[in-house]
């Protein structure tokens, strides 16, 4: 009897425990499903944006505080706007330093990743002497928070300091590419209080030099900072020895996070905000409005609190609780967007400035991988097996939050050709099969496709590919997030149907970039045929110099195409300001990599926060312009 009672009690207890769990999981599950269904209109497969931008509303008014979520693990750990590679990220440069120290040339302009003349500190640069001399005229009226004007000397001070930093160590500036800025500047002089003249080593394309090089220049307060010690005399930074001493002093102050908000050095700013608090333990920081800001829009919101987060889950829970004014929404929470909207948030996303891909290794001689990948028709066939619209729609992959992309910049880039979001080789396994068969391969679905007609003729397999050759690759994908596994497996599965063997295996991101990265580890070139870890960020003028030119120091897959080299050279050194379009078109069709969709960077902000639409359109580039925002 007691046994029966015991069993009943056991069942009752089990049910009592499981019911709330079931209720919780049911609630969350249905919420997610509703969210997915409810946002279909906002997330058409391949749409260039995620949702719509709300119109500006309410009457602008001054005051208030907003809470912005930091990206987990991406706190700002460096103050001086010459950020060493180890601390460099868009969060540090765009969301932290830019609020305090304005760059000479600002980008983006709304959703368009191009130079924004209205927010730039200088008039558009003038190029002369066959594009070997650049004259920069600063706009009148910009001043530092202590009242002194932003002058040409402040621009030259930045360049002197940057050169000093790089003389000490090439890793001292995250934006450094040997041979480019500032190596290519032979002299930088303040020819008057508001004019800087740069002499360049060789002629450069004005568009490239402006959008990719001059956007890195951040005028620094020379009259305050050109010292080798606190309270020391102002030194002439054009003397390399002085510049090194000044850099050492400022770098040391930048390596003291406890002093970020209290060191008087960092209180001299020319941006709309200044740092008012920094908690070393939690990485919380706050910024207060710079009442002396001299830019086009004085800040309306008085305090920005940047809240640190330990995980995307913690951040999303705070959003749902209504405790954050704005935050990014990661791919893992896209299915719950409807719940966010119900909680009073606007949600909007767009592709970041960059591109995603499966990297191809043209130096892998294992089983003639280099010969096979060297054939353009093989790369075309492989691209035909990638179902970008399907991947974007799949709930296990992008869940609607990505855009089709077949080039090195998103469609929002003013430099991108109009067809950048149009597949040059759309998903079409039959077309892939035909390509292989037309070039002498005997396709054996789910078996081993082999070369039947070796040779270099138009209907033969191609140079170096012997008769009987099979097509076998390995593909290493980043072990997290799960997206990479899903994409790699789908691609491999499609290939298998054409008798192409793609063996997929996970690796950590760190392992991939340290070992399967030709410039870093050439000895490992024979170990990998393909890899995918995410993608590259690009600059506003999206040339692939250094990445896809045959001698590029970052040419991971050792891609080699003389015509691409020529086009890249024209992008960087030519006269045509739109030269990069031809380069992008060549890369789009030549396939130095296999193109994958570009995920949307999604932001959510409370509907009580408003401002000009274009300031919110810029969010996916991670650039913030909170001086334009107000609380309704």
């Amino acid at each position: 009897m007691s046994g029966v009672r015991g069993r009943r009690a056991l069942i009752a207890a089990t049910l009592a425990t499981l019911l709330p769990l079931a209720a919780c999981s049911g609630g969350s599950g249905s919420g997610g499903a509703e969210g997915t269904g409810g946002d279909q209109a906002a997330r058409k497969s391949g749409s260039q944006t995620f949702g719509e931008l709300p119109a500006e509303s309410g009457t602008p008014k001054d005051g208030g505080t907003i809470d912005i979520a930091q990206q987990p693990g991406a706190g700002p750990y460096y103050m001086l706007p010459i950020v060493p590679g180890a601390f460099n990220s868009t969060y540090v440069t765009y969301q932290f330093q830019r609020l305090m120290y304005r760059p000479l040339y600002w980008f983006p302009e709304g959703a368009s990743p191009k130079v924004n003349p209205a927010l730039s500190l200088a008039e558009p640069p003038e190029f002369s002497d066959g594009n070997k001399t650049v004259t920069i005229k600063l706009k009148p009226g910009y001043s530092w928070s202590d009242g002194s004007p932003v002058e040409a000397g402040d621009v030259v001070f930045f360049i002197d300091l940057l050169k000093a930093a790089l003389r000490k160590n090439a890793a001292n500036w995250g934006g450094y590419t040997p041979g480019q800025f500032p190596d290519n500047v032979t002299s930088a002089k303040a020819t008057s209080a508001d004019t800087v003249t740069l002499k360049l080593e060789e002629a450069y394309n004005p568009e490239w030099f402006t959008a990719d090089e001059l956007t890195s220049v951040v005028p620094l307060p020379a009259k305050q900072w050109a010292r080798a010690s606190a309270g020391g005399p102002i030194l002439d930074a054009s003397e390399p020895k002085n510049a090194e001493a000044i850099y050492t002093f400022l770098d040391k102050a930048s390596r003291d996070p406890a002093g970020f908000a209290t060191n008087p050095l960092w209180q001299t700013v020319n941006g709309p905000y200044r740092l008012s608090a920094f908690d070393v333990t939690t990485n919380f920081y706050a910024m207060s409005a710079n009442e002396a800001y001299s830019g086009p829009q004085k800040p309306r919101i008085k305090t920005l609190n940047f809240r640190p987060f330990t995980s995307e889950t913690a951040k999303f829970n705070q959003l749902l609780s209504g405790n954050l004014t704005m935050a990014t929404v990661d791919q893992g929470h896209v299915g719950q967007v409807k719940a966010l909207k119900a909680a009073g948030y606007h949600v909007y996303g767009a592709p970041r400035l960059g591109f995603n891909f499966i990297m191809l290794n043209f130096k892998d001689t294992t089983d003639n991988v280099d010969k096979i990948l060297g054939q353009r028709y093989v790369r075309q066939a492989l691209q035909h097996l990638i179902d970008q619209p399907g991947y974007i729609a799949s709930k296990g992959m992008y869940n609607g939050a990505a855009a089709e992309s077949y080039g090195t910049a998103p469609a929002s880039s003013p430099y991108a050709p109009k067809n950048v979001a149009t597949a040059p080789y759309p998903y079409d396994p039959a077309a892939a099969r035909k390509l292989l068969e037309d070039h002498g391969w005997k396709v054996v679905p789910n078996g081993a496709t082999t070369c039947e007609r070796p040779g270099t003729g138009p209907s033969e397999c191609g140079e170096g590919i012997p008769q009987g050759q099979t097509i076998r690759f390995n593909l290493f994908y980043r072990s997290e997030p799960q997206l990479h596994s899903a994409v790699s497996t789908a691609f491999s599965s499609e290939a298998r149907k054409l008798g192409i063997e793609i063996a997929v295996a996970p690796k950590t991101f760190s392992f991939l970039i340290q070992n399967y990265n030709v410039p870093a580890a050439p000895s490992k070139a024979g170990e990998w045929a393909m890899s995918t870890w995410g993608g590259f960020s690009t600059t506003p003028y999206p040339t692939m110099t250094g990445t896809f030119d045959s001698k590029g120091s970052g040419n991971v897959g050792a891609y080699n195409d003389p015509e691409t080299d020529e086009l890249i050279r024209a992008s960087v050194h030519g006269e045509d300001r739109q030269a990069v379009q031809a380069e992008m078109e060549r890369l789009r069709t030549e396939l130095p990599v296999l193109w994958l969709p570009t995920a949307h960077t999604i932001w959510a902000w409370k509907d009580t926060l408003s401002g000009p639409q274009e300031t919110f359109a810029a969010l996916p580039t991670t650039v913030l312009t909170p001086e334009y925002w107000y609380l309704r």
Binding site: R5, L18, A171, V280, T281, T282, Q318
Partner: protein, 315 residues
């Protein structure tokens, strides 16, 4: 006893040194170029080489280890090149918060699990025992993150009676100053730990209840309460003491999940982020501290057992 303590201390020191060697070799051996990991895939080869040179990664592993050991003997755990702070400072900033969270959860877990386990043993196969067994099995088999998410879903997002995140104060004593904000993280860690401890406690108490000395005590006319508190409890707690020592690293690992879900930066998260960022000095420092804590925890457990049962000193 002194000889026993000295012997255990010497063994502990060797274990910690061994952990440092193995961790150092594993971390550095698997990495082709820390500079590449730190500076990212788009950094130039020159920048990567300069970084590796500056931090000594271009030298042999042997030289690197002994340089590290030399600094270690001076109390310098290195400098985080991601967080721009010394590892000593980072550990000091985070250790107090983690210790406080884990400590409070541990004390609560012991306070609940010991009487719970004894109660279940005494009331073996009763309704109460079965219900508690079911509940503890569910909690024991539940991943920490799931329990945390359920608590957030119910108490923060559903009922709205507790905050979804832990206190954001950097104070070590935040549990006492903002108990409401710390309730869910403490509850999560305590829940998981109680489930583990109470099972062991029940089993140990059952073993003791079957011993002759308990029967003798009962036959002498001692009340059950006195038998339990004076005779059974001390002996039944011995396995738990060992278990608690061994649980310290588990608690640290559990903290990682709790810290991550409840937005409470502490040691666990420091380690996790360092792992993602390949921040070797932090990884080494944390591993060394965790190893030392584990060894000390075991040492303490051994000492407590030795005091409780002097026969073990001869083992």
């Amino acid at each position: 006893m002194i000889q026993f303590v000295l012997r255990r201390l010497a063994t502990s020191a060797i274990v910690v040194l061994g952990v440092s060697v193995i961790t150092f070799i594993m971390l550095h051996g698997m990495s082709g170029s820390p500079g590449r990991a730190i500076l990212g895939v788009q950094a130039s080869a020159e920048a990567v080489a300069a970084f590796d040179r500056e931090h000594g990664y271009d030298r042999s592993l042997f030289v690197q280890y002994f340089t590290y050991l030399g600094r270690l003997l001076e109390g310098d755990l290195g400098y985080s090149y991601k967080l721009n702070q010394s590892v000593n400072a980072l550990l000091a900033e985070n250790a107090g918060r983690t210790a406080m969270l884990a400590g409070v959860a541990l004390v609560l877990a012991i306070a609940i699990a010991v009487p719970l386990g004894v109660f279940q043993a005494v009331k073996r196969n009763s309704i109460g025992d079965n219900v508690l067994t079911t509940l503890t099995f569910i909690a024991y088999s539940m991943p920490v993150f799931l329990l945390a998410m359920l608590l957030i879903q119910v108490f923060a997002l559903g009922l709205g009676v507790l905050p979804a995140q832990a206190s954001q104060s950097s104070s070590t004593f935040v549990i006492f100053t903002e108990p409401r904000a710390m309730l869910l993280p403490v509850l999560t860690l305590t829940g998981i730990t109680v489930a583990l401890y109470s099972r062991y406690q029940r089993s140990a108490a059952l073993d003791q209840l079957a011993q002759d000395y308990i029967r003798v005590a009962r036959a002498k006319g001692l009340s059950m309460r006195l038998v339990l508190t004076r005779h059974l409890l001390r002996n039944a707690c011995l396995p738990l003491v060992t278990l608690i020592g061994m649980t310290i690293p588990l608690l640290l690992a559990g903290n990682l999940v709790v810290e991550s879900v409840f937005n409470y930066p502490g040691l666990g998260l420091l380690f996790f982020n360092a792992l993602n960022n390949q921040d070797y000095p932090v990884l080494l420092g944390y591993t060394l501290v965790a190893a030392t804590l584990t060894v000390l925890g075991n040492l303490l457990a051994d000492l407590l057992v030795a005091v409780s049962d002097p026969r073990t000193q001869r083992a």
